[in-house]
Amino acid sequence: MNTVMNTPVVEVDKLRKSFGKVEVLSGIDFSVERGEVVCVIGSSGSGKSTLLRCINMLETPSSGEIRFDGSRVDSGRCRASDYRAKVGMVFQQFNLFNNLSVLDNCVIGPMKVHGRKRPEAEEAARALLAKVGMDRYVNAKPHQISGGQKQRVAIARALAMEPEVLLFDEPTSALDPEMVGEVLAVMRDLAGEGLTMIVVTHEMAFARDVSTRVVFMDKGVIAEEGAPEDIFDHPSNERTCEFLARFLEDELPAEEPRDKAMGARP
């Protein structure tokens, strides 16, 4: 692992993306190394989701390059489904498969995409579900569990594919406040284990404590990036200051109990 530690696993080069006449991403350059936890912050509509979706090829870039392990992902050579299996995604709306049980949600990918046998896939899925604290719910259907539980299952489903990078698009934004902590706790564990993660989030406490780097996006470009201490304590960009000031006003009072909830988890 140490030899590849410093080669970027994901590289984004002059990425532009327009929907019709509207340019949503106006030249993004950034790269992520193995083991990094990069938090992407920025106001609504700044293009954070679009960036993640481009990285995972759910959107086709208008121009620019995305490389994975040094090779272009948008060249015809690389099969989209093979690539996507290496880059997992956790969505704001969980997007669990409603016709499948919790366990089946986690085994369908390994079986269909990696060609695993069912017993093997089930064993791995059960272990992952145990890790996110959902092993007792293997038989439940998605509509029978809470939002926080759904998101933990969605994380287990993504992990079951053994991704090299896991993308999170506002994984806690659709959750009731009391469930945010349980999901963030799982994500903290994953970060602690060295999983490479790119996390779009509005959870500033999480970004500050867990990330190795924070990227601030504004109007389709990266306005500022750096170590969390630098971004949060000495932001150099004017827009970053405004954004953080607005956030600290609204969010800080709510941050305290949330942190406690995280700490309370065994």
């Binding site: 145990a130 719910y137 029978q144």
Partner: protein, 283 residues
Amino acid sequence: MSAAAALPSTFWGWVLYLARTNWSMFLSGAGVTVVLAVLGTLAGCVIGFLVGMVQGIPYPAMTRSVGGIALRAVKAVLAAYVEVFRGTPMIVQATVIYYGSKQMFGVDMSAFVAGFVVVSINTGAYMAESVRGGIDSVDRGQTEAAKAIGMTHFQTMVSIVLPQAFRNIMPQVGNNLIINIKDTSVLNVISVSELFFTSKSLAGTYYQYFPTYLITCVIYFVMTFACSRLLRWYERKLDGPTSFELADGAADGEKARVKVPGRTSRALELLNGKDNSKRRAMR
């Protein structure tokens, strides 16, 4: 003329007489009707699913390619099929297909086979639209999630989207089955020996139209009613249990049954709430 003397003289007498002496005719007619309706509905669903799936393929990505043009052509043909078969009466389709296939292509189908074909493609035309709606009703997020773990479009369709689409359009499948049980009666025009055709010949034999058709009426109703009950039961079965079994946890081995607040219990809660407020108001 001794037989004539044994014939009943009252209306209900005729009903009983016809039912007693000709039950096997009614039964075989009803059998043909059920078989045609069920097979036709099943085949129609298959056709509907295929057509609906093709109609649902998005083409912005491949508009100018050869594949894109071919897809456009196939879609146009399928759209025409749906319009034509929804826009003409089944009784006319039956005659056109039965006599037309003989005269134009020299295909000598039996009336039963022709009837099956007509019911299938007719149902298919109606189901195609429902299937498209059923597929649209499965939220795009699930399709994206499947894509994001590397599943192909085909795998996503088969494992995720179609099972849910099928559940969503089950009521329409049931509707079509019931309609087909009734509408196979138009196939008497090409002499398929279904229930109505059988009844017509029976009525003609005795010159007893009302008693005969009353029996026919009852049989049709029993068949459609039984089908709608069966389908309701099948829908519930598809939905699975409303509660789930908690598996053995790592920490505690205790098994518990978790009751999920379903529609009924929520309704009960509401009722209880109302009761309480009433009681409070009364105090």
